[in-house]
């Protein structure tokens, strides 16, 4: 009996053109990989346009072999709206961090959702400005230490975090909202299925979709790279439960 090795998982899709420079243990490259795998598997690479905001993930525009518009901080949903309206046959997605979508661009994503624009927004949420070195964002959870909340986010002085996916899910015009995490193998697989479902809704013309992906930022959390997943489970995931969110009935 001879044994023949059969490839069951590639290291990365061909749509990733080279190495990224993000930190050890970062969750964002995992999110990029499953996003591009979904575009490949749905056979929509040759009609996809990504609208990318500003954060560490912004450097992905150099290694992702998909058409991209790098836009102003927070404005990706509006840019995506313009693209999709004039090119309805394309598949349009945004890639934004929590600082981009929830701090700088909260109204953009809410209005785009309420308008029911047939685009897919992807939020990479690590609860911190990783790119600037670990500062508080609108999704930093209560108690989380950042460089601008050194003793942990205290609601009395820093206010409360915003669960943007829940806000979006409360709006009519939305076809799909889900929250996944890339902190475990199972979580990565489930998040990939969420992305696939979101794009299937866009392809069916159902209206706005949002997939929030909780990602590790051990550098910005000031924990060792290997502790990222556990920290995520105890902080972000406790505040932002995973799964598909139930939607408001459309009028």
């Amino acid at each position: 009996m001879t044994e023949v090795p059969r490839l069951v998982a590639r290291d990365r899709p061909e749509l990733i053109l080279g190495d990224h420079g993000l930190c050890p243990g970062c969750g964002e490259p995992v999110a990029l990989r499953i996003l591009l795998e979904v575009l490949e598997e749905l056979d929509i690479v040759r009609r996809s346009i990504g609208v990318v905001g500003h954060g560490c993930y912004g450097s992905f525009v150099q290694i992702m072999d998909v058409e991209v518009l790098q836009c102003l901080h927070g404005r990706a949903p509006s840019c995506a709206t313009g693209i999709k309206r004039v090119r309805p046959d394309t598949v349009v997605f945004t890639m934004q961090g929590d600082g981009d979508m929830v701090n700088e661009g909260l109204q953009e994503v809410l209005h785009t959702a309420a308008r029911g624009e047939n685009v897919t927004c992807i939020l990479l949420n690590n609860g911190v400005f990783g790119d600037t070195g670990g500062h508080q964002t609108a999704t930093t959870v209560v108690g989380q230490r950042t460089k601008t909340s050194l003793d942990g986010r205290n609601p009395e002085t820093h206010g409360y975090p915003i669960p943007v996916a829940d806000l979006v899910a409360s709006l009519a015009g939305v076809s799909y909202v889900a929250r996944g995490a890339v902190s475990t193998a199972g979580g990565v697989a489930r998040t990939k299925r969420m992305l696939q479902t979101a794009f299937e809704h866009q392809l069916a013309g159902d209206g706005f979709g949002l997939v929030e992906i909780l990602t590790m930022c051990p550098t910005g959390w000031f924990v060792p790279a290997g502790s990222g997943p556990d920290y995520l489970t105890g902080s972000l995931e406790a505040a932002y439960p995973l799964g598909e969110l139930s939607l408001r009935e459309r009028a």
Partner: protein, 359 residues
């Protein structure tokens, strides 16, 4: 469904600009209501769907200009607009358009002439300018609209049409038809999704880094190239009009509606024997520097009339033949509603300010 309006209509400036834009192929518009720009948004929202286009009543000026940026990135002839504070909100995106080399028409249907600086100086970040045309009346606004779409595509840059309440709300009999221009290069840079997976998929990014498999020039080379392009535009695209300038010892400098009134006053004063003429920058940027220097070479005095505290005055002082001859006779003058010009924009006060300066 008709794509062009019938000949000879009675249209206000907002409707006329809308028809001119549609004749030029504009198929996307986004805006946020603000008087007197609102009329343009209303006309676009009625007309664009009739020709297969899109008009969005955006939730803010930020959304409006970024929606239009997206549409422009996807290759559409697109436009947005606002005025005053709304235009200020759009400046970040106008800079982004310039540095991304994306064409877009921004109609600044201003309340007055206090937007001169923010139209001509490049109110956002980076080394860029915006081609800005200031029509003096509705028929010229119709012409400028199409010219600006052409220039925007030719130079791949955002451009501004500087209107005002008189242009927005005055009805005139106009014929709107598509004008012919030199052919433009294809928009092979526009995003349509088709280049994904080729190893050199299209990328629009102010840093122009390209892909690791097909590197771009990067920010240093890219921004120097953009700056050089604006130098070229400054050299090639300045437009102006000299009116009864021959033998004039007094040269009025005015733009937009103010120039229309100044023209009338020049006619009156010429009848009275004054040697007076009018120089009108048609492009506010590029400022027609060489034309102004030539027009003021023999002038004893250069009188700047604008409805603000002296903004274009900076440019006139910089480029007049002799800056010591330059005097300011304009001023801030706002209608009680805050939405339009005050009493200074009228024949009698302009005439008396000129006569005072000439005496």
């Amino acid at each position: 469904m008709t794509s062009t309006a019938p000949a000879r209509q009675l249209l206000d400036g907002c409707a006329a600009i809308t028809e001119s834009a549609i004749a030029a192929g504009c198929r996307f518009f986004a805006g946020y209501p603000m008087s007197p720009f609102t009329g343009l948004l209303e006309n676009m929202s009625r007309r664009l769907p009739e020709v297969g286009g899109h008009c969005l009543n955006a939730e803010s000026e930020l959304e409006a200009v970024n929606m239009a940026l997206g549409a422009a990135a996807a290759g559409a002839r697109a436009a947005t607009g606002s005025c005053g504070q709304g235009l200020a909100l759009m400046q970040e995106a106008i800079a982004e358009l310039a540095l991304n080399e994306l064409p877009l028409l921004v109609v600044n249907m201003a309340r007055n002439q206090q937007d001169y600086f923010q139209a001509t100086r490049g109110g956002g970040w980076g080394d860029y300018r915006t081609i800005t045309l200031a029509p003096k009346d509705v028929p010229e606004a119709v012409e400028h609209t199409q010219l600006l779409f052409h220039l925007a595509d030719r130079y791949r840059a955002p451009v501004i049409l500087y209107g005002d309440p008189l242009i927005a709300q005055t009805h005139v009999s106009v014929d709107v038809a598509a004008r012919d221009f030199d052919p433009l290069p294809p928009k092979d840079w526009a995003l349509d999704g088709t280049s994904g997976g080729t190893g050199h998929s299209r990328q629009i990014w102010t840093w122009a880094m390209g892909k690791v498999s097909a590197p771009g020039p990067g920010p240093d080379r890219h921004w120097r190239a953009v700056a050089a392009k604006f130098d070229q535009i400054a050299h090639d695209e300045a437009r102006s009009e000299a009116y009864r300038i021959d033998g004039a010892e007094t040269v009025i400098v005015a733009f937009g509606s103010a120039a229309l009134f100044a023209e009338h006053v020049v006619d009156e004063l010429r009848e009275d024997g004054h040697r007076i003429g009018l120089f009108r920058p048609v492009t506010l940027w590029p400022f027609p520097a060489a034309d102004l220097a030539a027009a003021t070479r023999d002038a004893r005095r250069v009188l700047v009339f604008e409805l603000n505290a002296g903004q274009m005055l900076d440019d006139v002082r910089q480029f007049a033949h002799d800056r010591d001859t330059v005097r300011f006779i304009g001023g801030v003058s706002i209608h009680a509603s805050g939405l339009s010009y005050g009493p200074l924009l009228d024949v009698a006060p302009i005439r008396s300010r000129i006569l005072e300066a000439v005496a």
